[in-house]
């Protein structure tokens, strides 16, 4: 197991594949090239503990610097890759230097979507959150009593609102669609989180967008909203999704459709090149999807490391996610894409779970302060078992007493 593996991207996916290769006994050279300037770190805490000042930077690191040396992983940070020259098996760095690869792994991640010019464009105090540098800038501006406008009612927007409230900012969150979490969760989950934020003093405006941002000296000072109101603004945080970073792959002529298209082993349309993590598009329940999550980064990295070392490997994607807001822990098992029914189990005011079915098949669960529901669902989903909907909705029945059956068809 020799040769040169070059990994583009120093996020969780890129770093995981590097270390996994060593664990599997790979003896060749491993180079990880990242644009980020910081030692690779956990990204999810950025919008949670880190900005809330609950953690030092070192606590975010995936591995200590010494471990890259001891595992002989050549980590090149603050380094951009300009092009892939497939016919020569080389990548070209921004300084023109070329690096040979036998196997290339693209773990280029995604960029935060920014406001369009009509929505207000860019300004010094408009932030997106994707990396540690962004988080540092935001953390510096989050001081008590400032007026924060959060644009976007997805998980990043909600987490930012929660952190900002914990630091004493006044928070208005606007969501252009008719409710928060519209793309990612059922109305029942959204309603719970809306009420949670309102209890903590966040003003949530649904079905509301930006008409204009009034600025002076490249700083936004007021926001005109589509409901006709105008609000004072000191800081704007935009959480309206991400765009997969597929430029290198596209320029190199690899197949790209939303993300970099890969097969069950993570291979792109060039067999010497793999793609993993946020930037990769793969088949899941007969659809091509991308997932932006730690689970997807780590699990795809493992599949690709196995594949590179000659084992047969296939990605059996079992998604899970989490979000921490105030003291509420949301844990999500599965992917609710294409759900037809929802059942809710309510333990008490702060603890509930929302179960998603496609026909009779369980496909996902949002567990709010209910780790048992989360882990039970993960187990059922990975073994292809579904409880019946009525049983789930009956809170007097314990989960482990429910009758399970195998439902393979998505809609029955």
């Amino acid at each position: 197991m020799n040769g040169n593996v070059v990994i583009v991207g120093s996020g969780h996916a890129g770093v995981s594949v590097a270390f996994k290769l060593r664990t599997l006994g790979f003896k060749g050279t491993i180079t990880v090239i990242g644009e980020d300037i910081y030692l690779p770190y956990h990204r999810p805490p950025l919008s949670k503990k880190y900005i809330a000042n609950l953690g030092d930077e070192e606590r975010l690191y995936l591995k200590p610097e010494s471990q890259y040396r001891s595992e002989q992983i050549d980590l090149r940070l603050n380094c951009r890759v300009n092009a892939i020259h497939r016919s020569q098996n080389q990548i070209e760095l921004e300084d023109g230097q070329r690096v040979h690869y036998d196997t290339l792994v693209l773990a280029t991640g995604a960029r935060a979507r920014t406001l369009s010019e009509e929505q207000g464009g860019r300004a010094q105090n408009i932030h997106t959150l994707r990396n540690l540098s962004d988080a540092k800038r935001i953390r510096d501006t989050f001081t008590p009593n400032k007026n924060l406008l959060v644009v976007g009612g997805g998980y990043i927007g909600l987490e930012m609102a929660a952190v900002a409230r914990s630091l004493g900012l006044q928070v208005t969150l606007i969501e252009r669609e008719d409710r928060i979490l519209g793309r990612v969760a059922a109305a029942q989950t959204a309603a719970h989180f809306k009420s949670l934020h309102q209890k903590h003093g966040v003003r949530i405006l649904e079905g509301v967008g930006i008409n204009y941002l009034e600025r002076s000296d490249d700083r936004v000072e007021k926001a005109g909203l589509s409901d006709g109101t105008e609000i004072d603004v000191d800081v704007v945080v935009v959480g309206i999704g991400v765009i997969p970073d597929v430029t290198l792959a596209k320029d190199a002529g690899l197949q790209v459709a939303n993300g970099i298209v890969v097969d069950h082993a993570g291979r792109t349309s060039d067999t010497a090149i793999y793609a993993i993590g946020d930037c990769a598009s793969f088949a899941f329940r007969d659809q091509m999807i991308r997932l932006e999550s730690v689970q997807n980064a780590v699990d795809m990295a493992e599949v690709v490391a196995r594949s590179i070392t000659g084992a047969s490997a296939s990605y059996d994607c079992q998604p899970w996610f989490w979000s921490d807001q105030y003291t509420t822990k949301l844990q999500i098992a599965g992917l609710n894409l294409g759900y037809t029914h929802v059942a809710v189990r309510r333990k008490n005011d702060s603890s509930l779970s929302i179960w998603y079915f496609a026909g009779e098949r369980l496909i996902a669960v949002d567990a709010v302060n209910d780790a048992k529901a989360f882990m039970t669902a993960r187990r059922w989903l990975s073994s292809g078992q579904s409880p019946d909907l009525d049983g789930i909705a009956n809170e007097s029945l314990e989960l482990n007493t429910l009758t399970l059956s195998e439902k393979t068809d998505l809609v029955t």
Binding site: K48, E58, R59, V294, K372, M375, R378
Partner: protein, 106 residues
């Protein structure tokens, strides 16, 4: 600074310095201890920082809360002394704490 001793899955013993306030998981990760994945970085959501607390120490450590117990129910190879190490904070009188790590985390 208390010393924490980890027995890695292959039996290698690593004794490392811990700082007060760190989690045991962080101590392991920052010192390159093998056998802990900690995918979620300490959010108590992945159950991949599982370890076995040595018998002598089990009663001397603050016990697991409800979330940790529910997550532990599904940890790979749960046994006596099983804990999620991201949920244990290092305190002064932990010098010599011994933790065995399982063969696999998932």
């Amino acid at each position: 600074m208390p010393n924490i001793i980890f027995i890695e899955p292959d039996g290698v013993r690593k004794s490392v310095n811990a700082e007060i306030g760190q989690s045991i998981m962080e101590v392991a990760v920052q010192n390159g201890v093998n056998g802990i994945d900690a995918d979620c970085g300490g959010a108590c959501s992945c159950a991949t920082c599982h370890g076995y607390i040595d018998e002598k120490w089990r009663d001397r450590i603050e016990s697991a809360d409800a979330v940790e117990l529910e997550m532990l129910d599904f940890a790979y190879m749960r046994a006596e002394g099983s804990r999620l190490t991201c949920q244990i904070k290092v305190v002064d009188d932990m010098d010599g704490l011994l933790i065995r790590l399982p063969d696999a985390q998932a």
